[in-house]
């Protein structure tokens, strides 16, 4: 286990004025981009990663964490005001948030979203802080065979849960793993797929692939979709009563069970790879509606509906880091970007992280706590401001995002070669999304590809290539069996859903 001195030192590292400023900047940026429909925290994180190179690892991760957490709060602003979720997570928030805004109480709705979001996020962070170190100790007992089986299980679950087709999910994962094989192979150190470009000896640059597939392809999609369409204005009535502008403690307290349930659902789902916060928000919303004495009031501006959705979608964020920090497996695209930032700063996520970089991990936990407090403060002060800032025309927002992508990738890869890679992967991402292949699965597989190949190599050496040797690894057998059953079950449920749609 991690020493108490390491834990205290980690928290002491986090609670500095410099880190506080970076967390503040990250949260403010996250809330702003979350409030702009189509940008969102994932795109902002992808673009911001190269700009964090000059920072210390803790400050960089704290900044990115701030963007991610701030984005969850910001996403609720357009969901409430214009019924257009800034992030997919906020779609369930719009169900009650927008009707409340139409009743002339937009500030009450956004503030309830803010309070519920911070509550859910804090609960999930507490779970993360308390369970991740013991889980990492358990994970350390796993050998390469178990790690390989775990990765196969994670790929299966992610491919099954994300997107509409299991086959397309498997293809996306295979493409991601294939792209991860570019460069020197881990066992023999011979170059693969470099086509005369010596820059590819080290593999495809992480930042270029991530920014290309997640940010640039989405920017192109948004530009194409928004051509000639004016942005809807976001308005807050000036003559609201004080009671309609704020959430009283009584109103907050009345939602305590709803928020507790939402936080529990979000934390449980967030700890499993592949289940996004959108699913958690809708699940929590449905559970709150079912349990309420007056279910008919949901969808008509009920504060409990907002609290249920926001507490759950925000709780996913902290829990997503459980598989990342304990096993090195990102559970979501935000976690995958955090992994890439850790790798870029020379830190290898996984069970050894607590042993080798315990101080940094607890520094990260400290930064997450600061980000929650900052979310509350910046949200209270900034929600009105974001609604003004997001009125900036999309043309300016997206042209700026293009320049930021180019500059960011050029800075991180040391030239325009990386920018060319970014454009290629942006085109691939655009095509994949258009034809229903998940870029999220691709990116997660790409991040894990190198480790997958190493684990495969080590597992084959340990078992001497004999399948019967797996008898000595019951956990691995169990995980592989569960993977096969999951794949079959996911395929079956998709086919049933497709048959239901057709009829």
């Amino acid at each position: 286990m991690v020493d108490l001195s390491v834990i205290l030192a980690g928290f002491a590292d986090a609670f500095t004025l410099t880190n506080l400023l970076f967390v503040f900047a990250g949260v403010a940026l996250g809330q702003l981009v979350g409030a702009i429909p189509g940008i969102g925290p994932v795109m902002a994180m992808a673009i911001a990663i190269p700009f964090t190179f000059a920072l210390s690892p803790l400050a960089a991760i704290a900044f990115l964490m701030g963007i991610n957490k701030g984005g969850l709060v910001g996403g609720a602003v357009p969901a409430v005001l214009i019924n257009t979720p800034g992030t997919p997570d906020a779609a369930a928030t719009a169900l009650d948030g927008h009707p409340l805004a139409k009743q002339g109480k937009p500030e009450k709705a956004t503030k309830m979203a803010l309070f519920a979001s911070v509550t859910g996020d804090t609960v999930s962070d507490i779970v993360l802080i308390t369970v991740s170190a013991p889980l990492a100790v358990l994970a350390l007992r796993m050998g390469p065979v178990e790690v390989l089986a775990l990765m196969i299980f994670a790929f299966t679950v992610i491919a099954g849960l994300i997107g509409n087709s299991v086959t397309k999910g498997v293809i996306a994962a295979a493409l991601g793993l294939l792209c991860a094989t570019v460069g020197l192979d881990p066992e023999h150190a011979t170059p693969r797929f470099y086509f005369g470009w010596f820059e590819l000896y080290d593999g495809l640059p992480l930042a270029a692939v991530a920014i290309g597939m997640l940010a640039f392809s989405e920017i192109i999609r948004r530009i194409i979709a928004s051509r000639g369409i004016a942005r809807p204005a976001i308005e807050i009535p000036r003559d609201q009563d004080r009671a309609d502008r704020r959430v009283s403690f009584a109103e907050y307290w009345a939602c305590r069970y709803v928020m507790a349930r939402g936080a529990a659902i979000g934390t449980a789902l967030g700890a499993l790879p592949g289940i996004g916060s959108t699913a958690a928000a809708f699940m929590s919303y449905a559970a709150a509606k079912r349990a309420d004495k007056d279910p008919d009031s949901f969808g008509k501006g009920n504060l409990k509906g907002i609290a249920a959705a926001e507490s759950a979608n925000s709780a996913v964020m902290g829990a997503n880091l459980i598989p990342l920090l304990t096993l090195g497996i990102p559970g979501s695209i935000g976690a995958a970007l955090i992994i890439s930032a850790l790798v870029i700063h020379g830190i290898q996520p996984g069970p050894l992280l607590f042993e080798q970089q315990g101080r940094l991990v607890y520094g990260l936990f400290g930064a997450m706590i600061m980000a929650n407090v900052m979310n509350l403060i910046v949200g209270q002060l900034g929600l009105r401001l974001w609604t003004r800032v997001v009125r900036a025309p999309e043309a300016v927002v997206f042209s700026s995002a293009i320049l930021l992508c180019i500059a960011g990738v050029a800075l991180s890869t040391g030239g325009l070669f990386g920018v060319a890679i970014m454009l290629i992967f942006a085109a691939l991402g655009y095509a994949m999304t258009s034809f229903g292949y998940s870029v999220v699965i691709f990116i997660i597989a790409f991040f894990l590809g190198d480790r997958f190949e190493r684990s495969l190599s080590q597992a084959l050496v340990i078992t001497n290539g004999e399948p019967s040797a797996l008898i000595d690894h019951p956990v691995a057998i169990l995980l592989i069996l569960v993977s096969l059953i999951s794949l079959w079950r996911f395929g079956l449920s998709r086919r049933r859903a497709a048959a239901g749609d057709a009829s």
Partner: protein
């Protein structure tokens, strides 16, 4: 023009299968080295992935699971936009980011229908200036 959903799905499956076949019979043999020892050879993982892509692609082509409706004209516009940005990147290689960034931003904003002089100035001059300030002055990293 909206492509028929099943046809588009089959087309994507065939494209995947063709790519998988190209990997197996052409790309992997020419772009990886032959090694005769070890459990995981340089071709092992790429070959396995190529088979997955080939078989999965054929599966989608034969039995498409879901309906998709890619928008043909949107693809053309996206291709043009990619070409514009690629041209901008080539120009950056020749003349530098500081000169090309305002022109590229202006071109994208005009493409999107922005006609306000104030916003055009903000996007074409203000934003590149902020990026230059952040990268070269604050971070001390040279822009291309």
């Amino acid at each position: 023009m909206i492509l028929l959903d099943r046809s588009a799905n089959r087309l994507s499956g065939l494209a995947c299968a063709a790519f998988g076949a190209a990997l197996l019979f052409w790309i992997i043999p020419t772009a990886t080295e032959q090694v005769s020892y070890g459990w995981v050879k340089p071709q092992t993982v790429p070959t396995a992935m190529a088979w997955v892509i080939l078989i999965g692609g054929l599966g989608i082509a034969l039995r498409p699971e879901e309906g998709i409706a890619p928008d043909g004209p949107a693809f053309v516009r996206a291709a043009l936009l990619f070409a514009l940005v690629a041209l901008g990147c080539l120009a950056i290689d020749w003349t530098g980011f500081v000169i090309v960034a305002p022109v590229l931003a202006l071109a994208v904003m005009l493409w999107m229908g922005m006609r306000s002089w104030l916003w055009l100035a903000v996007g074409a001059l203000g934003v590149p200036f902020v990026i230059w300030l952040a990268a070269e002055v604050l971070l001390g990293r040279p822009l291309p």
